[in-house]
């Protein structure tokens, strides 16, 4: 693995840490005061700083450090995370994310942005932090000797490595403090390759110290878990350093141990069975031997030196045998336990997954081809072949499901990105807006997630810019000055439903209609329903002709939004209530790769109708078919009348309407389109089909959602039910033009 790969992994991890950071801050913003949340936020920034330091990303380190310092104040309860503080922090998180992006892709973040935030962060850390009353002695040197995060120039803070010697000569540091340190490593500490002995050695370098080992948790030898951690230490150290500096020794171990550091006066001797031991520093000055073997016996042998070191430290207390075993156990953790904790997730290049999915798709087609030819050539039903085929079918299906599951991801990251957009745009236009998210753990295929981000961003921007009114207007309308945008995701009948709701002013239908008339989208005397007017904002060219701010409603490139949603096999609809807000509803497929379909025959062609769209199938009888007007026909189903749509006619496969009695009707329900009975000639059966793009080599075909490959290797088209239903209202399928034609 070369440096670039390692760097790439770092950046990937940064993404995760940034997501963690943002979600933590948002939780805090919502009033969550769980220390674990604060810790998680701190940890995220800390990890980024650590990694960035290793790669020499100075700018990033500098900013992360200031950020971290302020977060630390929150963590130690010196700073109350109120709205103002969190506002700065959220902005800092954004800048941090930008800095990460810049470090990866080049470019730079505006210096003024960083500088302003650094100042604000420092003001929070210094100014508003009350001196810690409970640690009066420690507070003073902390302020004086800490590597003060004061910017020396406008480039921000220069990180100073902890070389304590540098402070040796300074006057203030002459003063000596005594701290009581209680340190109990958890097993994770060893699992991550840290070594308690090294930490103690580092600590000893700070000053005079006495150490006692707490072994009351040490079990009998036979019940000892070789990977567990049993020892804790109680240390009393006298040093000129500040409490923070003492804490810094444990910087990388902090999360994996119980650690308490307090000035000596404040602590009481605890009633633990402590055994004071002479602490032999010379023993610790040797690096512990590296552990190579993982066999318990071998470890015991190989770590004899380590064992010996620890043994010296705890000599007076325990049998030599036991301590050796414990030390061996601790050492072995390094090698073995790391594996168990890391085994939960695995990072895979998306291309590899895609290749796998493609292969599985081919496998499914092949399996279908095989089944079909066996059925065709089967003379007397050899059961073993049939059984084998059935099993193969089951296995293929299972493989396919599992492979699909690899790509499934929660929509959370996208939703989180939206909160940033809300913040930024709201800031820009001077509005107060709260983003509420719901169902962010709803899982959907990665490609869908990737592709939904852009239209969603667009819509969120619109909602903030035009949907929500200014605070003054809201107050005048008797609303909360703070607007709310709700973003929710949920699964519904094999699709994902994403809803974007705002409590703004809703669509100004008069103006939208006027604008549509001005742009020649509809004729002036067109009589449109409210719903139709709302939908005008999706018409192409609706907004491009004029400036955005001119429209009180929506419509900035909503045609583009609609098209990208359609390209995903999704639908978008809008419902708006004047004065109360608008709701956009997007319905998207969970995956872009497979679909459960009903295979039907229409005018000699094989088509696939998505199963999710079909409510029921029925065989029309002559008595249930009624003519309506010139060439409309309705079918009566349980005393209600439903328009008949001849699929073959609407797709131009035949010139005349087929006789409904000879065919089969598929009762479908489309989003916002009501029920329709689609007439097809015959049903071949249900099948899971692999979706193949038509657009890749051809173009979007109105009425057709995509293509698939059937068992015989031929291409079959997948019907776009909603488009067909929509077209059944007009004369023919014309992409995007149905609204314009309506006027």
């Amino acid at each position: 693995m070369d440096m670039n790969e390692i760097k790439e992994i770092f950046f990937q991890e940064c993404e995760e840490q940034l997501a963690e950071l943002e979600s933590g801050l948002l939780k805090l913003n919502d009033g969550d005061r769980d220390p674990e949340t604060v810790n998680a936020v701190f940890r995220a920034v800390h990890s980024i700083k650590g990694g960035a330091g290793a790669f020499g990303l100075e700018e990033l380190v500098a900013f992360a450090h200031v950020f971290e310092t302020t977060l630390d104040c929150v963590r130690s309860n010196k700073l109350e995370p109120n709205q103002d503080v969190l506002k700065v922090m959220l902005k800092s998180a954004d800048v941090l994310a930008d800095l990460v992006t810049c470090s990866r892709d080049g470019g730079s973040v505006e210096e003024s942005r960083t500088r302003t935030l650094v100042k604000e962060l420092e003001a929070l850390a210094n100014g508003e932090a009350p001196p810690a009353a409970e640690a009066p002695k420690a507070a003073k040197p902390a302020a004086a000797a800490a590597p003060a995060p004061k910017p020396t120039d406008d480039s921000g803070f220069q990180p100073i490595p902890f070389t304590f010697d540098d402070f040796g000569g300074e006057e203030e540091t002459e003063e000596q403090f005594t701290y009581d340190v209680t340190f109990k490593p958890a097993r994770e500490l060893y699992a991550k390759g840290n070594e308690a002995a090294l930490l103690l050695r580092d600590l000893s370098r700070l000053g005079e110290m006495s150490i006692a080992c707490n072994m009351d948790q040490l079990p009998a030898l036979e019940s000892m878990d070789p990977e567990a951690s049993y020892f804790g230490w109680k240390i009393s150290i006298t040093t000129p350093k500040s409490e923070d500096e003492v804490r810094a020794v444990f910087e990388f171990a902090e999360w994996d141990c119980e650690l308490e550091i307090k000035p000596a006066e404040a602590s009481e001797a605890e009633e633990l069975p402590m055994i004071p031991v002479p602490f032999d520093l010379s023993a610790l000055d040797d690096e512990p031997a590296e552990v190579v073997e993982t066999q318990p016996e071998a470890v015991a042998a190989a770590t004899a030196e380590t064992a010996a070191n620890v043994t010296k430290a705890v000599h007076a207390a325990v049998e030599k045998k036991e301590s050796a075993a414990a030390a061996a156990a601790a050492a072995q953790n390094n090698a073995a336990a790391a594996a168990s904790s890391a085994g939960q997730t695995i990072r895979v290049d998306l291309d590899r997954v895609d290749r796998l999915i493609n292969l599985v798709g081919e496998l499914v087609i092949n399996q279908a081809m095989l089944s079909q030819s066996v059925v065709e050539n089967d003379t007397n039903g050899t059961s073993s072949i049939n059984m084998g085929l059935e099993e193969l079918q089951q296995l293929t299906r299972e493989i396919q499901d599992s492979v699909m599951a690899i790509r499934a991801q929660p929509v959370k990251p996208v939703f989180q990105r939206m909160s940033r957009i809300v913040r930024e745009v709201a800031d820009m236009v001077g509005k107060q807006i709260r983003l509420v998210t719901e169902g962010e753990n709803t899982e959907v295929d990665k490609t869908v997630i990737d592709k939904i981000a852009e239209p969603l961003t667009h819509m969120i921007r619109n909602a903030v810019d035009h949907g929500i009114e200014s605070p003054e207007k809201r107050v005048a309308a008797g609303k909360d000055p703070e607007g709310t945008i709700k973003l929710s995701a949920k699964h519904r009948s094999g699709r994902i439903l994403i809803e974007l709701q705002d409590d703004g002013g809703g669509i100004n239908r008069e103006r939208v209609k006027q604008k549509a008339i001005d742009n020649d989208l509809i004729s002036p005397d067109a009589n449109l329903s409210d719903e139709e007017i709302d939908n005008l904002i999706f018409a192409p060219g609706f907004s491009t002709a004029d400036k955005i701010s001119d429209i009180s409603g929506r419509g900035v490139g909503m045609d583009v939004v609609k098209r990208s949603i359609q390209a995903l096999g999704g639908r978008i609809s809008i419902s708006s209530r004047p004065g109360l807000g608008s709701t956009f509803t997007m319905s998207l497929p969970l995956t872009l790769a497979v679909l459960d379909g009903m295979v039907v025959t229409v005018a000699g062609q094989t088509l696939v109708v998505p199963l999710t769209a079909i409510v029921e199938t029925l065989q029309p009888e002559a008595s249930s078919i009624h003519s309506f007007g010139a060439n409309q026909r309705l079918i009566s189903i349980r005393n209600s009348f439903c328009p008949l749509v001849d699929v073959g006619r609407i797709l131009n496969f035949r010139a005349n309407q087929a006789n409904p009695v000879e065919g089969v009707a598929l009762l479908v329900e489309s989003e916002g389109g009501g029920q329709r009975a689609l007439m097809v000639d015959a049903i071949q059966g249900q099948r899971q089909v692999v979706i193949k793009s038509l657009e890749a080599n051809y173009t979007h075909v109105p009425g057709i959602a995509a293509a698939t490959i059937l068992g015989d290797g031929r291409v079959a088209l997948i019907l776009d039910v909603d488009a067909v239903v929509g077209a059944s209202r007009g004369q023919s399928l014309k992409p995007e033009m149905s609204l314009a034609a309506a006027g």
Binding site: L651, N697, Y698, T699, R714, V715
Partner: protein, 161 residues
């Protein structure tokens, strides 16, 4: 015949072309845009497609549109038989199958053998013809596929039909 099947150095001024036959006319395209040549298989018709789009076929898992070159070049629509040939060509980002009667030659020529298209051409021919080659009393028209299938216009035509 000045046809060369040998691998000639294409370094300077040379270009390789694939010639094909439609009716009694010959055309050629740059060999670099040709991916493979395969036999005719029944295509699945596309609704609302322009008359020259015969439908789509399955090319190892990808959906490939088949264009009847005869119809596309303004001649009569082809009636494909098993002897017809599909030239799988890369046109910009898309892969398209071109239905032709037969592939006749692989030509290696220098640029100076390409004669300009005479003035009399109609708009359609002007649109795609990039030159004329005179080889052994044969006349071969050099076609630019990008001009025949510009991505935007292609979409428009198929949608309008």
């Amino acid at each position: 015949m000045t046809v060369s099947y040998a691998v000639k150095s294409l370094s300077q001024g040379f270009r390789e072309l694939i010639a094909f036959r439609i009716g009694d006319q010959e055309f050629c395209v740059n060999v670099m845009s040709v991916r493979e040549i395969r036999g005719w298989t029944q295509a699945t018709p596309m609704p609302h497609a322009p008359s020259y789009v015969m439908g789509v076929i399955n090319l190892r898992g990808a959906v490939l549109p088949i264009v009847d070159m005869s119809a596309r070049l303004g001649m009569k629509e082809a009636e494909p038989t098993a002897r017809h040939v599909i030239i799988v060509a890369q046109v910009k980002s898309k892969t398209v199958g071109l239905l032709v009667e037969a592939v006749s030659d692989i030509l290696t020529i220098t640029d100076d053998t390409i004669q300009p298209v005479p003035e009399i051409s109609s708009d359609l021919e002007k649109q795609y013809a990039r030159g004329i080659l005179a080889i052994d009393k044969r006349m071969i028209c050099l076609i630019e596929l990008e001009a025949l299938f510009p991505e935007k216009a292609h979409d428009k035509e198929s949608e309008a039909a």
